[in-house]
């Protein structure tokens, strides 16, 4: 039996209204990636994470648990969970991520910031004040809650004198660049994806030789909503990689299935499986994604048969001096942390 749509959406919307994010995550943990990077607070140009990469480990954990109850009698009790979630943070128990995933996604944001620095881009960060952009509420059609959140984000940017925002994921880019101007009068924030910023920069030159064939998985939102298609390819080539293309690519890319994961986890997994097959057939040595949701869904569907990583992880190996850290014991995959 499918999950009760109204209650699952309601639970996320309640979180957005009360806790300003769809999944519970402490602000302290959301900004941990920036430790030791010495990024100034605020400024006219800021990196805007929208907490998408930080939220993903929590979403992965929640989806796993939702998938377990999708066909069981427990699905009927989502409404009860929603009732108590308004008073206590019940969703925090549904979404307890693995340490490995938290560190993996944190590392990606860190890599993106390092790439921007390496390219000579000057930017600040809003740290604990930064807010989730509301993409999930928008996609699910919860317009009232979305409008409130969009206005909160805009007010925040204006209060801090921000004029240009550098986004790091396609969903936040789409919200801030294409959706907010349609609902906020006088919206005047310039929004660029970090991929666009890096591609336009002459300051980024390879420091290390990387010889590898990388298959590009275009995100639907970047390619069909925001026309970010050439930039990732250009950057991979500049880094020294050979770009491989899957059957469905560029503006005709195949969705990873991620957008329906919160409501239909099993179906999302099937769509991801179809895409993984196309990516395998491209016969690259690795797959580059540029959206945290794509990465999580495809990783899950590939079951370790493909090397799938965020594009920034490939780029940083060529463009930055990165310290190799010893790999953690695999058993840590199953250790969970509190949100």
């Amino acid at each position: 039996m499918p999950l009760p749509t109204g209650n699952v959406i309601g639970l996320m919307v309640d979180n957005l209204k009360k806790r300003k994010t769809v999944f519970p995550i402490s602000r302290r943990k959301a900004i941990k990636w920036a430790e030791e990077l010495d990024i100034p607070e605020g400024g006219e140009t800021v990196i805007y994470t929208g907490s998408m990469y930080q939220l993903l480990p929590y979403m992965v954990a929640a989806v796993k648990n939702m998938g377990l109850i999708e066909d069981s009698f427990l699905g009927k009790f989502v409404g009860v969970g929603r009732f108590f979630n308004r008073m206590f943070n019940v969703s925090a128990f549904i979404a307890r991520p693995s340490r490995t995933n938290v560190k993996r996604y944190r590392r990606i944001i860190c890599n993106i910031a390092m790439l921007l620095k390496q390219a000579g881009v000057e930017f600040g960060y809003l740290y604990k004040k930064e807010l989730y952009a509301g993409a999930l509420a928008y996609d699910l059609g919860v317009d009232d809650a979305f409008r409130i959140q969009a206005q909160r984000v805009y007010n925040l940017l204006k209060e801090h004198g921000v004029r240009t925002v550098i986004t790091i994921d396609p969903h936040t880019t789409n919200m801030l660049r294409s959706v907010y101007p349609t609902i906020i009068d006088g919206y005047d924030i310039e929004v660029k994806s970090y991929l666009e910023v890096l591609a336009a920069s002459n300051g980024l030159q390879p420091l290390h030789s990387v010889e590898k064939e990388i298959t590009v998985h275009d995100s639907c939102v970047y390619s069909r909503y925001e026309s970010v298609i050439e930039e990732p390819r250009q950057l991979l080539r500049r880094a020294g990689y050979t770009v491989k293309e899957p059957k469905d690519n560029r503006d005709l890319t195949h969705c990873c299935g991620g957008p329906i994961e919160s409501l239909f986890p099993k179906m999302a997994h099937q769509i991801g499986g179809k895409r993984v097959q196309q990516l395998k057939n491209a016969k690259g040595q690795g797959v580059a994604t540029m959206c945290p949701m794509c990465m999580a869904t495809l990783k899950e569907a590939s079951d370790g048969e493909l090397e799938i990583d965020d594009i920034s992880s490939y780029l940083v190996k060529a463009f930055c001096e990165v310290e190799e850290k010893p790999k953690r014991n695999e058993s840590s995959e199953n250790k969970h942390i509190k949100p």
Partner: protein, 104 residues
């Protein structure tokens, strides 16, 4: 065999036509959207849009689950020969359900 007659909900029809967000009148029912859908959803978007334009709220709500199964990936939209804003139409239906049914 007697089948129940489809019921037009004028209030629903009015909300659809006055919203300014739903527009599928250009749809020629060519079926390209169905052919390219990664979800292989037969209903979306052409049949569903017909129900909506006709004001058949019951028929639309009967397929509520399918409306949320859409990935909003726009594969159909970039291939649409009539330039229908399919994803925005689906989002409008979700918005209607969120407000009128789920009371969110």
């Amino acid at each position: 065999m007697v089948t129940a007659m489809a019921k037009v909900n004028l209030d629903f029809k009015k909300k659809v036509t006055t919203s300014g967000e739903f527009n599928a009148t250009a749809c020629m029912d060519c079926g390209v959207c169905t052919a390219v859908c990664p979800m292989e959803i037969d209903l979306l978007p052409r049949k569903l849009f017909r129900y909506t334009l006709l004001g058949l709220e019951d028929k639309v709500l009967e397929h509520q689950q399918v409306i949320y199964q859409c990935l909003l990936c726009k594969m159909c939209e970039v291939n649409c020969t009539a330039d229908v804003h399919i994803a925005e139409n689906v989002r409008f239906l979700r918005s209607y359900i969120s407000k009128e049914i789920f009371k969110l």
